[in-house]
Amino acid sequence: MARTQSAPAAGRDTASSRPAAAGARPPRRRRGLRKRVELTALLAPAIVLFIGFVIVPMIFAAWYSLYNWSGFGPLNDFIGVQNYTGVLTGPVFHQALLHNVIIAVLSLVIQLPISIGLALLLNRRVRGRTFLRLAVFAPFVLSEATAAVMWYELLQPGGPLDALLKAVGLGGLIHYWLASTSLVLYSVFVVATWKYIGFGIVLLLAGLQGIPPELREAAAIDGATPWQVTRAVTLPLLGPTIRIWIFLSVIGSLQLFDLVWIMTLGGPANASSTMLTYQYTNGVQRTEFGYGATVSVVLFVISLVFALGYQRYALRRDTSGALTRAVT
């Protein structure tokens, strides 16, 4: 707190074993230069990569999105915002967007409580805790492609899941899990939950470890029941972790692709499509790269608006301290 602008510099200079005499200190201008050189040297690789592989492609995508372009020949059929009109007014895109939103909402309503419950459970000293933690985390380690192929096989008509249901006397529950247009999206959601629940749990467990046990003990000594301790002490302190999980989960839901593509190709009849399967089907497979770029831009804007809005209104409390501290 008592540090002034120049104090840190003096400290640094001492550390670099230079004579601490004021007269020997380099002039302010040179120090500023050195700092700039340092910053440039350290940041340049990251900035070059970021600009080359993130910013420039984004600019290109935005540019292509204004053209009717099959990928071959010159970019000369300028059509303005026609691609955007096509995407934003297309019922098939609306359907895909709706599916993304459904997956995101279901994640919050179903995955979050399960994750919190299991994390609280696995944070206690239960027998076989290490094994249980490993078991819930294992699916997350699998690649999406592997998980998708595995579940595709499990969900076959007459496949292992159906056989299991029949064996336990629940044969009446058997459905065409992936072939029914009204069920397929939820089947995909269950697989996504199976795949990603481990990640949420590990994140929340890390958050739980960061809560000092003294707080819980103090509450318990004051006579709080375990439920009250959880509700009034643990969960509020877990808030930052939960808010980060929600952020990652929603962004992940908006960008869902691999799992769906391998299991259903977004079908049958677009019943499990997402914005990205729509982009792949209508942009890449049809070699309509201008149109595909448009879908990418729309998806980017949706994600960006959510990300900025969420940062602004939900995450600010959690990150503001960290950010201001990082600045000095």
Binding site: F72, V87, G90, V92, Q156, A179, G267, P268, T287
Partner: protein, 439 residues
Amino acid sequence: MRGSRKPAIVAVAVAAALAIAACSSSSSSSSSSTSASSSSSSSSAKVTLTWWNNGNTQPLLGVWQSVAAEFHASHPNVTINVDPIQSDLFTTKMPIALKSDNPPDVFQQWGGGQEATQFTSGKLANLSSLTSSWITELGQAAAGWQVNGAQYGIPYDQHVVGFWYRKDLFAKAGITSPPTTIAQLESDDAKLKAAGITPISLGGGSRWPDAFYWEYFAVRECSQSVLQSSIKAINMTAPCFTQATKDLTAFMATNPFQGGFNATQAQTGAGSSAGLLANGKAAMELQGDWETSVVPALTSDKNIVSQLGWFPFPQVPGGAGASTAVLSGGDGFSCTTGASEPACAEFLQYIDSTPVQEELVQKGGVGLPANTAAETVLTDPALQAAAAAHRNAAYDAEYFDIAFPTNPGQALDTALANFFAGKGSNETIINSVSSSSGH
């Protein structure tokens, strides 16, 4: 899945063949280099051909490598860099490559409208004059690789779609000979169902197998001239296409397919449509000639291929199309413009020479060679039947999704898959190609 069908098929075929005969020719297979194309017509200047092909798995990988080596041995001035690339990647790699200053000299080409789309890059070499001396040997197979009547690609194999069936299940249901009309097919379906057998497996989850049905009904209902002009004009408003939808609707009403076919994939695993046929869970499947190279990997039955028979898509009474016309396609290569054109054309001639074609059939997992002279090495009776049907066909109709430019072709596949899933109508099918707003 346009870009990936034939490729996927070859890949699966290749994987299949590898799984079965893990011993097959990975390294230089005995060069049957009885010098097919007498060499040295091109100048002696050194040429290097970069060759993008989709033989990225065995056995095709090894066969292509030995073909390149053999060609170099007989043409020392031509060096070939073999660059195997997974099929799906061609969709995104080719546009970029054809925009660049050094595209590959030879690359995988599936012909039809996709080739016509690539043609607009101005980088595809016109091979007509360079191949005129021998291209006629391929017969009508080469027509699918023409743009505006000129040869911009050359096939190295052909595909023909028809019904594959299990002889044992037909016998079990009391069916003595394969059906020749749709009515007979439907009554055979009923017999199979009565015997507790699913009549036909369908890989609707992969989308493109759905299209075979509607396209074959259209081939039977439309005359050749209507078919050709409709494809050329990208317009399917001719009444025969609507009739095809009616035929398909009536056929689907008899429930010939396995339950949940909308989610069944075509070639992946025992639960796929090919897997159902391979494991005796269904009696028939409408598929390409590649079926014999796909099924062995999907079942433990070592004799599965000999268990299969083949019959052409049945006749549709009253249709204006020839009853022997077949739905077909194939795999091939294109050359890019530049100094390497003559060497490239010579290389493609070498690939289509009888010894190499025989090697492709015997070791490369290829079903039907482009050069029919190599059909003599076909040993499987069912494949022989498919080859004969193709040879004797009144004419070929290329799969519509390949024949159309890529965008309407894919739109048609999507519309048909939706129709099979109960969403859509005749209008959505017909309009899918003309309004590419089928997005």
